[in-house]
C-alpha cells in the first residue's frame, strides 16, 4: 500500500485548511440571500459569515439570549441548501454523545454469530491457542471495529457527510471546560481520530457555528480557532425591519411603534431586557388582538409578553405609562 499523497517526498508546508468552493460571492450576496429567507443581517453579521466561508473557520456567536444566534445558523443552512446538523450541548456531554460510539450490542451479536457459525461447521473445530483461531480472532477484531459498527454522532456525522453541511454547536458554554477539548480537533483540522479506524478527514469543509450565552468564559484554545461574532440587540431600523419581515399582516406604523417602545425599554435598568424573539411575540400578539396603534393602556396590558419579571414589569409600567397619571 502506498502512503497517501503528500507524505512522500517533501512534507507539505503548514497551511490554512483549504476552503471548498465559495458558497457566497460577496458580503452583499450573503446579505441578500439571508434576507430572502427572512433573516436580516447587518454588515457585521454578513461580513463574518462571508469570511467564515472563505477562511474555512468556525464562527463563535455570542450575545444575549434571543438575538437570533441559532436562527443565523439555520438560515445559513437554508440559503446554502445544506443539511443542518445540530449538537445541543449540556453539562455532562461526552465523547460518545458528541463524536462517535461503538455499537457494542451489535458487536456482541456479531461475536455470538461467529461462534454459532464455528460450532455448526463440522471438522473445523477451533482448538484454543492454535494458529487458526488466532487468525479468526484477528479477522473478527477487524470486522467488529469497522465502520459498520460505528455509531456516528453529530461531529463525526458533519465530517463524514459528502453533501454540504452546516454544523451548529449550540450553547457551547454549557459543557465543562475539559469537554471543550473534544471540539478542538474537529474545529481546526476538520478531522476526527478514531484509534481503531484511523483518522477520518472531512470530504467537504462544513460551515460551523458555535453559539454561547456567555455564562462562562470559553477557553482560549477554543476562541483562538474561531471567528468571533457578537450579536447584540439590533438597531431601531433593523429591529423594525425584522418585525416587518417576520410578522405577517403588520402595518409599517405599528412595527415602527413596536421597535421604538422596545428600544425605550432597553434603556431602562431591567433584570432581563426584551429579546428580539420577545419583540416578535409582542408584535404578533398585537396583530392578533387587532391593535392598530399602541396607546398607554394597550401597552400596559400586553407588556407581560415582553418582560418576564414582576419588578421589571412594574418599573416599565411606571416609566413608560405611569407618567400619565402623574402629569394629568
Amino acid at each position: 500500500m502506498s502512503p497517501p499523497d503528500g507524505r512522500r517526498g517533501a512534507p507539505a508546508p503548514l497551511a490554512f485548511p483549504e476552503p471548498g468552493p465559495a458558497r457566497f460571492a460577496s458580503v452583499q450576496d450573503v446579505r441578500e440571500r439571508l434576507g430572502q429567507v427572512g433573516y436580516l443581517a447587518d454588515d457585521g453579521i454578513a461580513g463574518v459569515v462571508h469570511l467564515a466561508d472563505r477562511l474555512a473557520k468556525p464562527v463563535l456567536v455570542e450575545g444575549p439570549a434571543g438575538t437570533g444566534k441559532t436562527e443565523l445558523a439555520k438560515s445559513v443552512a437554508r440559503v446554502t441548501d445544506s443539511r443542518l446538523i445540530r449538537l445541543q450541548c449540556y453539562e455532562g456531554l461526552d465523547e460518545s454523545k458528541a463524536l462517535y460510539e461503538w455499537n457494542y450490542k451489535k458487536q456482541l451479536l456479531r461475536i455470538q454469530a461467529q461462534r454459532m457459525v464455528a460450532d455448526s461447521a463440522p471438522g473445523e473445530e477451533a482448538v484454543p491457542g492454535d494458529r487458526q483461531s488466532g487468525s479468526t480472532w484477528q479477522e473478527l477484531e477487524e470486522d467488529i471495529f469497522s465502520e459498520e459498527f460505528l455509531l456516528t454522532r453529530p461531529l463525526l456525522e458533519a465530517i463524514r457527510a459528502s453533501e454540504p453541511v452546516v454544523l451548529l454547536v449550540d450553547e457551547v458554554d454549557r459543557v465543562e471546560l475539559e469537554t471543550e477539548a473534544l471540539l478542538l480537533e474537529v474545529l481546526s483540522e476538520y478531522q476526527v481520530s478514531i484509534p481503531e479506524l484511523g483518522t477520518v478527514r472531512a470530504e467537504q469543509i462544513p460551515l460551523v457555528f458555535l453559539t454561547s450565552n456567555n455564562t462562562r468564559e470559553l477557553s482560549e484554545a477554543l476562541k483562538r480557532r474561531c471567528l468571533y461574532l457578537h450579536l447584540d440587540y439590533p438597531s431601531l431600523e433593523r429591529e423594525r425591519d425584522i418585525v416587518l419581515a417576520r410578522v405577517p399582516g403588520i402595518t409599517d406604523e405599528l412595527a415602527d411603534q413596536v421597535a421604538r417602545i422596545v428600544r425605550s425599554l432597553r434603556t431602562l435598568e431591567l433584570k432581563k431586557y426584551p429579546s428580539v424573539s420577545e419583540t416578535l411575540d409582542w408584535a404578533r400578539t398585537l396583530v392578533v388582538l387587532g391593535v392598530e396603534s399602541i396607546d398607554a393602556e394597550r401597552a400596559k396590558a400586553t407588556l407581560h409578553v415582553l418582560l418576564k419579571y414582576r419588578s421589571d414589569l412594574e418599573r416599565a409600567a411606571k416609566e413608560l405609562v405611569g407618567a400619565t397619571e402623574a402629569a394629568s
Binding site: 461580513g47 463563535l60 476562541k223 474561531c226
Partner: protein
Amino acid sequence: MLDVLTGFIGELRAAGLPVSLTESLDAAEAVRHIPLEDRDALKYALAATLIKSSSHWKVFETAFEVYFSLRGPQYDIGAEHAPGASDATSAEGDDQRRGRGQGGAGGEGLSPEELAEMLFRALLSANDAQVAAIARHAVSRYAGMEPGRPVGGTYYLYRTLRNLDLDGMLERLMRTARADAPDGRLTALEERLERDEFGARLDRLRRELEDEIRRRLVADRGTEALARSLRKPLPEEIDFMHATRDELASLRRAIHPLTRKLAVRLARKRRHGRKGPLDFRSTMRHSLSTGGVPVDPKFRYPRPAKPEIIVIADISGSVAAFARFTLHLVHAISSQFSKVRSFVFIDGIDEVTRFFEGVDDVTEAIHRINTEADVVWVDGHSDYGHALSVFWERWADEITPRASVLLLGDARNNYHASQAWVVQEIGHRARHVYWLNPEPRAYWGTGDSIVGEYAVYCDDVFECRNLRQLEQFVSELA
C-alpha cells in the same frame, strides 16, 4: 498594509487585549478576502479575527478609529481656516486663524444662531448627512484646536458641546414635537418615545463630533502618539477609587454578567469536587449489571459546608464605590453562602442585611443603604475605632466559628484610636478575618492609614483595586 496591521495589533496588545500569533495570521488572511476600500468590512473582519470577547470591543474600536482613520487635507487642523496662508504652521498663521474663527468665517459665513437653526432642522428631520456636515463645521468653529497642543480629545469635545447646548436643543425638539401632535400635547408614552428618539439622534451627533475631533488629532499628532493617549482601561481593570462617572457606569454594567458567571462557576465547583466517601448502597446496586462484581465504585457527592459571611464595610466618600461593588457582588451570589450579614459604617455603624432581604433587585437595596442606613455618629468622617467597638458591643455574640469576616476599607482613620483589639477578638471567634483594601499597596501605612495595625490580627490583607481582583478574592472565598 502589513505595517499598519502589525502596528495596530501591537497597540491592541499594549491596551491589554490577548491577541495571539494565530489570530494575527488570521487577520492578515482575512484582509485578503475583503474589498479594502470598504472601511466597515475591514473593521468587522479585523474584529472577528482579533477580539474574542464583547468587553474588548470598546478598546478595539478606539484603536481602529485611530489607526484606520479617514485621512485627507480637509482634516488638517489649520487647513480650512487659512485658505490663503500657506504657512499655517507659523505663529502668525495661528493668530490669523483664531481671528477668523471668532469672526464666524469657516467658509460659509453663518452666525452661531444660523448654525444652531440648521442643526435643529437636521435633527428634526433625521438627516444624517447634514448632521455630519454640521458636526464637522461645529468642530472647526468651536473646538479651537491648535496644532501640536498635547491635550486629549475630551477637552475639545467639551468645548464644542458647551457651545452647541444640546440639552437646550433636546427641549426645543420636544416642544416642536408637542406642537406637532394632533391635539397639541403628547401622551406620556409618546412623550417618552419622542424623547428617546431625539436622544438617540443627539447621541449620534455626539459620536460624530468625537470622530471628527479624533480624525483631526490623528492628522495632527500621528497615529501612535494618539493611540497611547486614548488608551482606555478594560472594565475589569478600572480603579474603584478613581473611576469617573462613565467608568462607574460601565462597571455597573460589567458587574451583572460577572456575578452570573461567578455563581455558575461556584455551583459547578461544588458539584464536581468528587472526593466524597464511598457510597456502598449505590456501588452494590450498580454491581448487579456486572454480575455482582463491583467494577465501578460510586461515591457520595460531597456537601461542603457553605461559609457564613459577615461584611463590615466603610462607606465614607473615598471608598464608597468599592464598598458598593463588594456588597453587590457578595449579595448577588449569596446562595453560595449559608448566611450573609452586612454592616456599614462611617463613624457610626448599622446593620443593613434587612435591605437585601426579600429584594430581588440588589441595586435598589444598595440605594436604600445610601439613604437610610444610620452611619453617622459625630461628624461623618471615618472612625474605624469607634465603629468597630460598637460592633463588638452589639453584635459580638453573633460571630460563630463558621463565619468569615470581611473588613472593607482603606483604614484611613483620621488619627482616631484604632481599637485594633476588636479585630483580634473577632479573629479568635471567627473562622477567618480578611481585610480588603482598595488602595494600592504602596500607599498602605502612609498618612493616616493604619491598615498595618489591623493587619497583624487578620488572616490576610488583600489589595482590591479593580473588579478583577475582587472577583478573584470572592471566588476563592466561596
